[in-house]
Structure formats: C-alpha cells, structure tokens
Symmetry: C2
C-alpha cells in the first residue's frame, strides 16, 4: 500500500529544521503556515487568491463541513479539493476542538461526545470512528485524530483523563481509518500545561506510529511561557523524521518560537480575522490599525515593499480605511490577502535562515523588535 | 483647450449603433455597460477583478464619496482613479438622484437642496455649483449635471417644474465646471413618462451643447412600456454624434431595448446586487437562484461555457450554494464577477450584432427567449 505522506528533514539548526512534506496534492517546504478555511472557504478570499499568497495547505473544518453542507455533498463533489477547487493540499481537523469549545455538550463518555448542533439544535454524536469516517469522505491529504480537549484552566486530574482517553481514541482512529493509502492520519498530543503529561501523551502516541504528530490544546488561554514550556517538553518526545504540527498557533512571534522548538506546521485564524478588523502587518515587525484616523489621508500602500495582491496593485491605506469604515467587502479581501502573504513571507524567511544556519540570530532579533522576551535557553 | 471626450459612431443598425468613446483613461467600445462602485468600490470585488470582467468604465457616487471619505481625501489621493486604483475610465453621478431618493430633505429651491446627512445627521446643502465642484475634485473622466429628479408617480405640473429647473441648473453646472479640458460634463434629460416633456428637456439641453447626454428619471417604478415610450421620445431629440447614457438601467432585456433606441451607455446595480442574493445569469437567457435546494448536489460550474473568473476556475454551484447559505463572502465575490461578466458578454454580443447588421433579429430572439414582449414598432 502506497504512503500518502513523505517527509524529509533538509537542514537542522538547533531544534529548528527545514524539510519537504510530500502529499498527494502538493509538495510543501516546511516550516509551513496553513490557511484556515473553516467552512470550505478562507474567509473573504477566493481560493485562487489564497493560492497566490504562496499558501500550499488549506484547512477545512470537519465539525462545520459535516453539519453544513454535509459530508455526502462534499464526497459527491469528489472530495474537499474538488468541492472547493483548492489546487494544493488540504488538511481537516477532527472536530474535537470545535465540539469541546463551541458546542452545547450533552455528554462525554468513552464512546464519544453527544452535543446539540449549533445550526439546528439536532442531537448529534461524534466518536473517533465517526470523525475519521467523515474525514475519509472529505478526502483531505492530512486528517486528524479525534481527541479530548480539556478546558483551560483544568484540574490536573481532568487533564490526565483527557490524555489517556486521547490515546485510546487515537488507537480507535487508526483502526477506523479506511483510506490510509491516500490520507495521512496525525495523532494529537494533549497534556495541557503539565510538562510530564505532555511527555506521557507524546510517548504513548509515538508508540502508535502515526505518519505525523500534532500538538493540541495550546493557545487556549495559557501564558506564552506556559506554551513554550509545554511545547519544549513535547517535541523532544516526538520522532525526528516525522512532521510536527502546532495546532491553532498563532501570532508571528509564536511561529518563530514554535520553529525554535522544532515545529514544522502551523495554522491560525489570526491573519484573516485581524484583517477583517483592519489590522495588517508590516514587514518585518509592525502592525497598522487601518481604521484609525491617522490613515484618512495616508495614500501609501499598506507596505510599499510587500509583494501581495493589494500592495503590488498600489492599494492605498486611505482607500482601505474608507472601505473598512463604510463596511465594504473588498477591504476585507485585500487585508486578508496581505496578512496571509505576510505569514508566507515570514515562513519563507524562516526557512532561508534555517538553511543558512542563522535562524537563532534571526529569531532573537525578530522577537526583540516585536518587543518580546527572548526565547527560553533550552531552545538555543 | 483639449477635449476630454471623443465619440465616433461606427455603424448604425436602425437607431442602434456601435461607437468608440475615447476618454482620458480608456478607449471604450459602445454600447457599454458600466459597473457601479457606489462608495469607491464595486461591492464584494477588487478593482483588479472588475477590470478582468472587461468593464471599462466604473461609476463613483458623488453623494456618498462627498460625505465619506470626503472629496478632499479623494483629491489628496490624486483623484478617484488613483484613490481606488481603478485602471480604466470613471464616471461620477451628480448626487441628484441620491439626494432626492435617499436623503431626508429639508428644502428644495432654486438655489439647491438642503438635506440631513444619512451618516451623521448634519445639515448639508447641495447645489449645481457644489456638485460640480465636488466632481471636479473627484476627477472622473465623465461627470454629470446636477438635476432635479421628480418622484414617480408625480403630477405633470411637478415634472414640468423639474424639467425647467434641470435646464437652468444644467447651465449653472456648465458655468461652474472648472476642468472641462480633462472631464466631460453630461447633461441629464428629465421629463418623467411624459413624451412631450422628454422632448422639451432634450431640446433645451441640446441647445447647451454638452459633450454627452444622459436620460435620467427612468427605472424608478414606471412600466416597461412607459420607459420605452419615454426613451423613444428622447433619443431622437439628442444629437447623433454624441454619446447617450441611460442612467440606472437595467435588466439584460432593458439593455437590449435601450440599444434599440440608440443608447450607448448603461449602468445598474442589478448584476452585483442580484449576485449577493445568489441570483446568477446563464448565457444567453437564463437565471439560477443558487440558494435553492436543487443546487445542493449540483457540482457543475454556474455556466460551463462562461469565461468569468468563477466559471473558468470550475467553481461549483454546490459550493457557492453552501457559502451563500452560511454567509461566506467568496460566494458574493464570485457571483458578482460572474454577473458582471455576463453583462459584458451581452454588450460584446450586441456590438457584434450591430456591426453585422443583424441586431434587430438578435434583439427579437433575445427578448422572446426571456419571455418578454417584442420591442415596440417604432424602433425597428
């Protein structure tokens, strides 16, 4: 049986590494940032526009797509790539995070989770088998195990239970996976902010020999130091030769910190969500809030040296501000594309710095000019 | 002093004609359909996307742009072309239509109109001089005289007054126009649905020797037969060698009927407004309402033979329906671009049929397959 995922580490620089991730629909240089397309579309952008930002993996959300339009619709279209006409690789999450964070939960037991649909109130059950079944129908290149995400903060005992159940569910996900020749299933490490539980979760999942591993349950309210600690205790327990995905993270500085800890893949709604409020990035370490009055007469592009769709067309801060203030959609589109391009440029730069062996100096400077604390020692 | 507008009629076919309209920022084959960019943006589209539909003239709205972001902002950016980065020609209306249809009017007298700003309630006065002054600041290729638009229906006496005042205001607009070397000022014919008043208005404005003429006050609630009659009594009174613009019209069949009466330019919000409700056109004479359940599993493009951005990318009806139902913006964008492209394809076809001398047969078939009455005799 063929393997849908091939990963090679190209160059190490401390824990940081560049690599190449070969998937059925794309060859992706890592570290990579993935765009979030919750309901089968990146908010305010066409898929063609997103592809032009350099994005090579787009996320779909199993929870949302399963409820609307339904996995049968997506499968009937020929899968999520064909349904959305996204030309590169896709990844679907398991629905675990959404069930635990968005849904009105009726019960959680060993079998799975029962909750009320936020769309029509229907009583629905999601189990490891069901999540994988739906993800098999959706057909993304990478699919995720169904995990139990403990709330933050949570008692240690609750996190211990979640880690153990996540491992048992991970095994059921592997057993349920019917398309392992075309879809790579990743395990998800839990363990909250407890170093020993992170290590325990990673070790247990490593035993199950997934083609890739994700770190879940971070960026949920813990401090940056807690996130860094939890991550630092996780990645050393994961196999060197397999891709590592830090879920739902994060700010540009979080990406740099994650790469320092050996992370290869990231996703976050931040670039597009911020864009829709008029918050845009300046290379390398700045940010504008375009709704502010100071931009009323500022006729410069967002960032004159940026190569995104908005900046290369000379789209003006003053025009974007006007459209943001009057609720006109093209500003949401163009700011989103600008921010997605910023994230891709950051990943390109990170890869170059790692390949040149200069990533730690870059990371230190980058965090410092953003006004952040330097990376913790162990990552150097 | 140079002339900002050159118009040549290329071929006549009854009253219908093709032509070339040379403007400072574009050479435009006519008959042409202009996209509406009310606040300096075509709703849900980037300017680059609109340009790719084949649109060569984009409208801006003096009333809205004057109030937000302010004519000084647009002028400071280098004018509306530069502010919006629209690469082709622009046209601004005078604000007359909006003042009379949208605003809370305090008074109308010979001097002008006083109304409350819909943005902040401020008391504002718009006069012919002010409208032209603002349009000079905005800097579009074509600007419009400030006219009095009578309501529909209105007493004949009210329409007579509006026609006479519109003529007096037209003269004041010509006098106030400070940039006649770079901006062409069009007069606007009023007269409601009264044939003799339309003729009187056109004759009076013809005396003033504008570089182009618009027909205003139609598509405001009158029947199709009334519109056709009013238009039929107007265009014969306008000079043959100058462009004629039917304001705010209309449905695809209205464009065909307008061309039959010798109209060269059209604008309407319909293609983009309909798109945002999921109503899209099929070539040549069909329409889909994409929110309907029948499209849930319909994985075809909107129109497989269409060359718009959505259809050439293979964007699916099922995906668009899903996004429309869940409120995702890319569907609004792609349906808008599809409909704008439909309108441009229709104008391209109309121009070819006129040049081939077969326009009347085409028009008859087109109206018939849409299930509409044939054009009135006088136009044949």
């Amino acid at each position: 049986m063929s393997n849908p995922l091939h990963f090679s580490v190209i160059r190490q620089c401390g824990q940081a590494r560049t690599g190449v991730l070969r998937l059925p629909h794309a060859v992706v240089p890592t570290p990579t940032f993935m765009a979030v397309g919750t309901r089968g579309a990146v908010k305010a952008c066409t898929m063609e526009q997103v592809a032009r930002t350099g994005t090579r993996i787009c996320l779909g959300n199993t929870f949302h797509l399963w409820l609307r339009p339904g996995a049968d619709v997506v499968e009937g279209a020929g899968g999520l790539h064909e349904f959305t006409r996204w030309p590169h690789a896709m990844l679907t999450d398991s629905g675990g995070f959404q069930v635990f964070s968005l849904a009105d939960i009726n019960s959680v037991d060993e079998h799975g989770v029962t909750f009320k649909s936020p769309y029509d109130g229907a009583r629905i059950e999601l189990t490891p088998e069901r999540s994988i079944g739906v993800q098999n129908q959706l057909g993304a290149d990478i699919i995720m195990a169904f995990d139990e995400c403990p709330p933050y903060p949570a008692e240690r005992e609750v996190v211990v239970e979640a880690v153990e159940r996540t491992t048992r569910w991970a095994r059921r996900c592997l057993d349920a996976h019917a398309r392992s020749d075309t879809q790579a299933l990743f395990g998800i490490v839990q363990g909250g902010v407890h170093a020993d539980l992170r290590a325990r979760s990673a070790d247990a999942l490593k035993e199950l020999d997934f083609p890739g591993y994700a770190v879940g349950g971070l960026s949920v309210g813990e401090t940056q130091a807690q996130m860094e600690l939890a991550l630092g205790e996780t990645t050393p327990h994961l196999p060197e030769g397999k891709p590592r995905y830090l879920m739902g993270v994060g700010k540009p500085t979080d990406l740099v910190r994650g790469v320092l800890r050996g992370v290869d893949m990231f996703d976050c709604v931040l670039p597009t969500r911020n864009a829709r409020t008029g918050e845009v990035y300046l290379w390398p370490t700045g940010r504008l809030r375009l709704k502010h009055a100071e931009f009323k007469h500022d006729h410069r592009p967002i960032d004159p040296l940026c190569d995104c769709e908005a900046c290369t067309q000379g789209v003006k801060r003053s025009w974007l501000r006007h459209l943001l203030k009057t609720g006109e959609i093209p500003a949401l589109t163009l700011c989103s594309l600008h921010n997605l391009r910023y994230y891709q440029r950051l990943m390109e730069r990170i890869r170059r710095e790692i390949d040149a062996g200069t990533f730690h100096a870059f990371a230190r400077d980058y965090l410092e000019t953003w006004g952040e604390a330097p990376p913790a020692e162990s990552s150097a």
